[in-house]
């Protein structure tokens, strides 16, 4: 079902750049066009920055996937940060903390085809998002 994982550990702002170029490279190799590459790389940038800002560290895993004959990319964001108290609230447009612009999570969701978030306060957050080739 899936190929090998490309893992980027997020510890600094430089790792955000690494994570998004890794995702872009995989998207490119899967045949995604320029606009989708930009969408995927931007979503990774937003979500990897969330890890850096709110959880200090975590990891981003990119893999190619296939479902019903369609190719796609799946990116997983894991952290053991503080977790999100009210997921519905942060998924709303315009929700912001002092450090964000209020578009990180809802913006990233709009850029991808599928978006799943699981978060437990005090345990951490996992986000899985996918984009399929058209």
């Amino acid at each position: 079902m899936s190929s090998q994982n490309e893992v980027t550990v997020i510890r600094s702002d430089l790792d955000i750049v690494t994570a998004r170029s890794t995702a872009r490279d995989i998207a490119k190799s899967l045949g995604f066009g320029a606009v989708d590459q930009a969408r995927i790389a931007t979503a990774v940038s937003e979500l990897a920055r969330n890890i850096f800002l709110y959880a200090d560290s975590g990891k981003v895993t990119c893999r190619s996937i296939e479902r019903n004959g369609r190719k796609g990319i799946e990116i997983e964001f894991d952290d053991q940060g503080p977790g999100i108290n009210n997921v519905d609230e942060v998924m709303r447009d315009g929700y912001t903390t002092s450090r964000g612009m209020g578009m990180g999570l809802p913006g990233a969701r709009r850029l991808m085809d599928e978006f799943e978030i699981q978060s437990t306060v005090g345990v951490g957050t996992t986000i899985i998002c996918r984009k399929w080739r058209t």
Partner: protein, 136 residues
């Protein structure tokens, strides 16, 4: 590791900065500080930030550009964004990022034209208001 600085050039009374590499957060903040200092030192009328070579603008870089435009505006300097790639423009809008107060132009040349035009308009306004011709 943080030695990356974006060169800022001066053409007539306009500053031109072309961002050629993927910016990480620290280099973006450095650029903002450098640019504002340069505006102050050179009393530039306008600033062009050229993004032709940039294949991604996320909310962090977008916010930095919006901040620069707002801060430069307070100093009396206009900011024009040029050379946005189609994929970048599409992504910015889908992400939900708006850039109020930021002028845009298709490319560097049109950006320069826009700023020259605006500067001339400003001078005309002063002339109308005071009856004096603004010396160049």
């Amino acid at each position: 590791m943080n030695g990356l600085r974006i060169p800022i050039l001066k053409v007539e009374n306009i500053l031109v900065a072309s961002i050629q590499v993927a910016l990480h957060d620290a280099s973006a903040i450095q650029f903002k500080d450098d640019l504002l200092q340069k505006i102050f030192e050179t009393r530039a009328h306008g600033v062009i930030i050229d993004l032709t070579a940039l294949d991604l603008v996320d909310s962090f870089i977008g916010r930095m550009i919006a901040d620069i435009a707002a801060m430069a505006g307070l100093m009396g300097t206009r900011v024009v964004l040029t050379g946005l790639q189609p994929a970048v423009a599409i992504t910015l809008v889908e992400l939900g990022l708006e850039l109020p107060n930021v002028l845009t132009a298709l490319n560097l040349e049109k950006g320069l034209d826009l700023l020259r035009q605006q500067t001339t308009d400003d001078d005309d306004e002063v002339q109308e208001a005071t009856g004096y011709v603004v010396p160049e």
